[in-house]
């Protein structure tokens, strides 16, 4: 059935292929346009550099009026990412605008990796280390980067 959400997701996918943003990629699953797999490459000049972090995006029929549920599958160490991979990012919650598309979501998450917000922590250990012990923070992040290469 062609619904507003599905039509829009096809449009998002087409745009992602025709005009791919740097450092992110994403595509619907084989049998279900409502569930996408995505990869975010760790931004240069950050401890996440060289990481290939995998995510899932689950869309509801209310997309784009409601944001998708986006989760990291790769293990992450970041002040705004929960242990279960959930992401604490305002545009995925109270600042969601229907004008955001998949491309905008992925690039926003990519910039969250570069610029954590330690004042609104989802991982208090990561937030504390980010503020007080940057070396240890970077060490823990690097471990996630190396682990990201081994994920399926």
């Amino acid at each position: 059935m062609s619904t507003a959400a599905r039509r829009r997701l096809m449009r998002d996918f087409k745009r992602l292929q025709e005009d791919p943003p740097a450092g992110v990629s994403g595509a619907p699953g084989e049998n279900n346009i409502m569930v996408w797999n995505a990869v975010i490459f760790g931004p240069h000049d950050t401890p996440f550099e060289d990481g290939t972090f995998k995510l899932t995006m689950e869309f509801s029929e209310e997309y784009p009026n409601k944001p998708p549920v986006v989760k990291f599958l790769s293990k992450m160490f970041h002040p705004n990412i929960y242990a279960d991979g959930g992401i604490c990012l305002d545009i995925l919650q109270n600042r969601w605008s229907p004008t955001y598309d998949v491309s905008a979501i992925l690039t926003s998450i990519q910039s969250l990796l570069s610029d954590p917000n330690p004042n609104s922590p989802a991982n208090s250990m990561a937030a504390q280390l980010f503020k007080e012990n940057r070396r240890e923070y970077e060490k823990r992040v690097k471990a996630c980067v190396e682990q990201s290469w081994c994920d399926d």
């Binding site: 507003a4 209310e62 784009p64 009026n65 929960y82 604490c88 109270n94 004008t99």
Partner: protein, 289 residues
């Protein structure tokens, strides 16, 4: 929403997700109890809800002389935009003058939205969809029944609502200096638009109404049915024409605290022709507090 059950509540858990899940449950409950846009009902149907309330009963009694019918909208935070959109499209069914006007206005509005930095790719999707419906209704490719069905199909209905939200956001941001006076605390107009205007399901206030009527030129009268002390429900016209009001606004809404429905004046039901300017309604434009 994720089909996984939420993790047990403990510190460090994903609280955002728990809050979202609870909001979702409330929204589902409302959705199962109210259509997005309801059928026409007589204004006196309001009396059933307020039979215990003398102030409301007096005001409803006085409304009955001026308003014939009511069309309820779902109280999902989008009611103001959905009510305006529905009533306006309904008017376009038999108002070629208004069709020509809005058809000329919308492309300019779109250019202003792009100028403001709204993402072109997604904006065009909402714009094209809205324009397509304006054309279908204005050129009689869609009748009242199809319009009703369209507005009760959630995806499509919300697509039309989004465009009005974006128009409102555009108007506020283009006149940010003026609207900054109405912001609470040190919130900027851009921040207000990002949190209170563009996201769906956020309720509308006076400022949304002002901006939307300015952006679209759609004149609007809101009848406030509240527990104020007067015996007449107070009303407010957008744009405010003061005492010199010469014409009756296009769209009439009934406001009850926290909610807007469409209301139809006695002399201009959905089937009437161009609005006549016999000002039978007083235009005190008194603002309820």
């Amino acid at each position: 929403m994720s089909s996984e059950s939420p993790p047990p509540a403990a510190s460090g858990d994903n609280q955002d997700e728990l809050i979202l899940a609870q909001k979702e449950a409330i929204a589902q409950d409302i959705a199962s109890n109210a259509s997005l846009v309801g059928n026409l009902e007589p204004v006196y149907s309001l009396e059933r809800e307020f039979s215990h309330d003398a102030v409301f009963m007096t005001k409803i009694g006085n409304l009955k002389g001026r308003y014939a019918e009511l069309r309820r909208t779902r109280p999902d935070g989008n009611c103001f935009f959905r009510a305006v959109a529905y009533r306006y499209f309904e008017l376009l069914l038999h108002r070629p003058d208004e069709y020509e006007r809005i058809k000329a206005l919308l492309p300019r509005a779109k250019a202003q939205m792009i100028e403001l930095g709204m993402p072109t790719f997604t904006l065009e999707d909402f714009y094209d969809n809205f324009m397509d419906h304006v054309d279908r209704v204005g050129q009689a490719h869609m009748d009242a029944q199809q319009l009703f069905e369209t507005f009760n199909e959630p995806g499509q209905s919300d697509y039309l609502v989004v465009f009005l939200r974006l128009l409102t956001s555009m108007q506020l941001q283009r006149n940010a200096e003026f609207y900054q006076n109405f912001m609470e605390g040190d919130k900027t107009v851009a921040e207000f638009c990002a949190t209170e205007v563009e996201p769906m399901y956020n309720e509308s206030d006076h400022i949304h109404i002002t901006a939307l009527t300015e952006a679209t030129g759609i004149s609007l009268r809101v009848i406030y049915l509240d527990r104020g002390s007067q015996t007449e429900a107070s009303l407010h016209d957008f744009p405010d024409q003061g005492e010199s009001a010469a014409t009756t606004p296009l769209v009439h809404l009934l406001y009850r605290p926290g909610h807007y429905d469409v209301i139809y004046p006695v002399k201009s039901t959905s089937e009437s022709g161009p609005a006549t300017s016999n000002a039978t309604v007083t235009t005190t434009a008194e603002l309820s507090s």
